[in-house]
Amino acid sequence: MSNLSKLTITEARDKMRAKDITSVELTQSCLDAIDAADALNAYCAKTPEIALTQAAAADARIAAGAAPDMCGIPLGIKDLFCTKGVQSQAGSNILAGFKPEYESTVTTNLWDAGAVMLGKLNMDEFAMGSSNETSAYGSVVSPWQREGSNTPLTPGGSSGGSAAAVAADLCLGATGTDTGGSIRQPAAFTGIVGVKPTYGRCSRWGVVAFASSLDQAGPMTKTVRDSAIMLEAMSGHDAKDSTSADFAVPNFEAMLTGDIKGKKIGIPKEYHLEGMPAEIEKFWADGADMLKSAGAEMVDVSLPHTKYALPAYYVLAPAEASSNLARYDGVRYGHRATLEAGDGIDEMYMRTRAEGFGAEVQRRVMIGTYVLSAGFYDAYYRRAQRVRTLIKKDFDDVFAAGVDAILTPATPSAAFGLGEMADADPIKMYLNDVFTVTVNLAGLPGVAVPTGLDAQNLPLGLQLIGRPWEEGDMLNIAYALEQSAGFSSKPNKWW
């Protein structure tokens, strides 16, 4: 097995252009690595024929000159993206056997840029989860282990397959989606970079909907530069998504100067949670010192409604999900329950949805149904929408005061063991999103950057939150942080 799958997107692009390697060689290296990593359960579908065909086409395009940056780069695609003729189940049994007749806009953009599809990546069912344990395909196992222990750990979720695949070099980059932290939390748990763009930057067309006002697709990669390259290829206006922004997409990579002199970085006081491990506090303070040493000015800021972000999210996201998931009724696609004699259409819906949806999805659909039901709509849903306005205003005020970006921890802890939260209250799992969910509610861009290892040798990440549509500036600050932190640890291969 060659080591080519360990390359970054940047390195591979440069080597392919210099004719040192071909996309076919690079793709084969990834396919071999994938076949040797079944123990991680990161891929739920492998597409080697598609990959090698696309790789050969990419090689021809590179040979002809002037190929895009992503040309010939092998990627993993989260199962939430519809890919034509290839299973797209959103990690759910209710979409068993579903092979879309169409391709999502984001993946279309990537294939148009010459990227190569290695397969589909495991995820929490309908992206509802923070540990990849709610998947119909079973849990993803993180490539990382605690020092001196072989306890299987979570890669985080919901984009857990994407995170594990990038961290274990089973692809050069992966698509993820982020509704409350589903790109940034798994990126932080696995020592990689994950970007949630501004709401509207990437088209949602062809991405299985969870909570439409919060969902955004984004890249998960080994470096900040790779994310800049991949994000540019994923982005752009799409007439098929009415919330997609009709703005020009900048060359994000060209904005990575590393010069952040004079940038104002906010440290929100409300993110110092009660009971947060001292280790996380220290990582956060260290990150602030790194940015300061690089010439940024650190300022204390206040986001007073932070505390209400999680409860507001857990009204709004399930409400939208209950509406979006109404389409899974056993009529047009996916699973239909076997009916008993005399069963009518209502029984068909109810049996189909009971069999097809897992426990967490059922719980959220029912919560959503309740908060939208007559008599409770104003008390829960409308109130949560008002609180969302206040949460966004908190950020607007901070940015209006001249702050360029906000630095926070990405997660309140390092990765936990698979099954460790099984008996916990669902709320405890929801707390994983405490630092990330505000960003979705406010529609802002956010990036998780790995900055070091904890005492158990597990990666920890910090989050930078940018101004709307300023992903380029945010990524430049992330790049400076990455350069200062010099994080280069990889999991020890045990699989």
């Binding site: 009204v315 696609y333 029912m366 008002r386």
Partner: protein, 95 residues
């Protein structure tokens, strides 16, 4: 706000998810726990605050109300659990 067994049954029915009678108590407990967590929102003063319906301040684009796509019956039916004579087939709806 605590949810009782009858409310849990009603919510499950509204969501069209079959829940066995002996599971309703458990479901009611879970839903109550989550709703309890949401009660914190009552501490926030939302007087005069507009509910957010769109996170980015932009107008939705409009297009002419014309047919732009179609004639793909085979593709539309290709994933159906049951289709007959060019239609989705379902159990009897009207007695």
């Amino acid at each position: 706000m605590s949810i009782d067994k009858d409310t849990a049954r009603r919510v499950a029915h509204l969501a069209r998810i079959r829940v066995e009678e002996d599971q309703l108590e458990n479901l009611a407990g879970e839903l109550s726990g989550i709703l309890g967590f949401m009660e914190q929102l009552n501490e926030v003063d939302v007087d005069g605050v507009e509910p957010m319906t769109s996170v980015s301040p932009m107008d939705l684009k409009r297009r002419d109300d014309v047919v732009t796509d179609g004639n793909m019956q085979t593709q539309i039916l290709s994933n159906a659990p049951d289709s007959r004579e060019g239609f989705f087939a379902v159990p009897k709806v009207v007695e």
